[in-house]
Amino acid sequence: MLNDQFGDLRDLYQEVILDHGKHPRNHRHPPDANREARGDNPLCGDRITVYLTLGEDGVIRDVAFEGRGCAISTASASLMTEVIRGKTEPDARALFECFHDLCTKDDAEIDAHGPVDEDALDRLRVLSGVREFPVRVKCATLAWHTLSAALAGAGKISTES
């Protein structure tokens, strides 16, 4: 009944997304964070802050976020924090590139980005439903753009800029 009512949106709002949207993981402000950035999607009113604790060896020791957006952006941020911890900055960026392709391209079009953590990418695949809904791509990638800004020390990004 609900499946019929909401048509293809069941593919977008999978159980994992609903779960992470409702109960986001790592939704906190780590006291020892040494990098942070704010992400803003003014179109729909999503605002999040991503916190990083970057070790001297360049490994992301901890990653967390605050703020709430739509189910897609919250779930994406939550999943991101789970797959990014323990990665180096280049690994995290490579994963973002693959994830971005996942959200915007058909499987056939996705180019190889060199070695990435395939298990992590598999976990993120649950968000690939956004590719059918272009207006939601920004929701799914907001946390990752914000992470990227935090890694670069940029402090603040907006999806409209």
Partner: protein, 442 residues
């Protein structure tokens, strides 16, 4: 069902015959508002949405009228007829078609004047949209008369279009912007407003109706208080001119603004009403053809208002369309439309109030048919997208009114806005969609 069709067909015929000759006929006794007949005037309402091979579409429940209105057959036909039979450039042709088009276009100016009860067609400046109308006032009147030390009073209810033009000018001139607050219901604080007015205040620019809370502001009182200090008043009527009768003389506006596309007319045309004495003090807006009396390299003289502010080829086809839209709306009667839309607003409000977790943003007693709300634990963006799958088109986000959303402490809202063709069943469809979305996220 066959009976209903027959009845619809009959009333439709009566309706179209008296709308096209409305000016030559004595006033007819008021008919009950027949929304089903009205709906047949809008081709787009017959279509389905989300239709795909192998999947049935859903009927369109269009509740985004505050963003833009759909177009009745009368508007579509008038614009087509203009392009097919009666089109040339205006104000400069000696030939037959140019004269005919000029007459038709200038007749629309007269229609707009009547629509607002303006003293004369010379009060009516035609712009590209409401935003340009406000920018026009800022760029001409504002740039001439505002200076450092002056104050401009806006309200927290404003759309960005009535904030940013003043900020742009403020950066140039250095005047101060003061903001009238509103209460929890979305009502302007008139005591605070009165307190903001003083010898430094040069302009009050306030919405006549909020596009988020739906609040209709007490325009006559706002103008009275401002005029007591000799301050000019501009009203942004984008949300009100479409929902209720507006009389610029009764409210004593110095400027009044609305837009064509929300009035079921075309995009690309807006209206600035200006008090004659004020328009005459204002320098030109843009330079070009049509706004000049004589041009030489030694010096150029400008035409009197309203033409002084209308450089270049105007929106001719859009003007014809707006004229048809005004005729159409007047044929239904703005009071009748307002009454109908209020019944929809009341129904939807009552239904939403009964849903646990719904918070309505804007509960003023006098509202345009706009219903903003948030749903506990569910982001408006998700709500809007899921409702859309059910065919219910609403707007979600910040509605170009970020200060107002901040005032209510929300990042975004869902907004349903009703138009003259919406039905009680559609108000119910909104509430049913909200319930279904709640269930989805449970």
């Amino acid at each position: 069902m066959p009976d209903a069709h027959r009845l619809r067909g009959q009333t439709h015929t009566t309706h179209s015959s008296h709308s096209s000759h409305s000016s030559h006929r004595p006033a007819l006794p008021p008919e009950p508002y027949d929304v089903e007949r009205v709906r047949t005037d809008f081709p787009i309402l017959q279509r389905l949405v989300h239709e795909r091979p192998g999947r049935l579409g859903k009927p369109l429940v269009y509740l985004d009228n505050a963003a833009s209105g759909q177009k009745p057959r009368a508007v579509i036909d008038a614009m087509t007829r203009c392009m097919e039979l009666e089109y040339a450039n205006v104000h400069r042709g000696i030939h037959y078609l140019s004269q005919q088009t000029t007459d038709a276009y200038e007749a629309v100016r007269g229609k707009i004047a009547c629509f607002l009860n303006a003293p004369s067609r010379e009060n009516i400046v035609i712009t590209r949209n409401a935003t340009e109308a406000i920018n026009l006032v800022a760029a001409t009147w504002g740039r001439t008369f505002l200076e450092a030390g002056d104050e401009v009073v806006l309200s927290v209810l404003e759309h960005h279009a009535n904030i940013v033009p003043w900020q742009l000018l403020q950066a140039e001139k250095g005047f101060t912007i003061k903001v009238v607050p509103c209460d929890e219901r979305g009502l302007l604080d008139l005591d605070a407003y009165a307190g903001l007015l003083g010898p430094k205040t040069k302009l009050v620019a306030i919405t006549h109706g909020s596009n988020v809370t739906g609040t209709v502001t007490p325009a006559a009182e706002i103008a009275r208080l401002a005029h007591h200090h000799g301050i000019l008043v501009l009203f942004d009527g984008s949300q009100t001119a479409v929902h209720m009768p507006v009389d610029v003389q009764a409210i004593d506006a110095d400027f009044y603004i609305f837009t064509g596309h929300k009035l079921y007319g075309p995009t690309g045309i807006g209206v600035l009403y200006g008090r004659k004495s004020v328009l005459h003090q204002m320098p030109p807006y843009q330079g070009g053809g049509d706004m000049i009396s004589a041009v030489s390299f030694e010096g150029t003289t400008y035409r009197p208002p309203p033409y002084r502010f209308e450089a270049g080829t105007p929106p001719i086809i859009e003007g014809i369309g707006l004229g048809a839209a005004i005729d159409y709306v007047e044929s239904l009667g703005r009071s009748a439309i307002a009454l109908h839309e209020h019944s929809l607003l009341e129904r939807a409000t009552r239904r939403l109030e009964q849903i646990e977790g719904v918070r309505i943003i804007g509960t003023a007693p006098d509202k345009a048919a706009i219903l903003s709300f948030v749903l506990d634990g569910i982001h408006p963006h998700d709500l809007g997208m899921l409702a859309d799958q059910m065919g219910v088109a609403i707007r979600v986000g910040r509605h170009c009114a970020e200060p107002l959303l901040a005032r209510f402490g929300v990042e975004a809202t869902a907004r349903a806005s009703f138009g003259l063709y919406n039905t009680i069943a559609e108000a119910d469809a909104l509430a049913d969609a909200v319930l279904a979305v709640k269930e989805f996220f449970r």
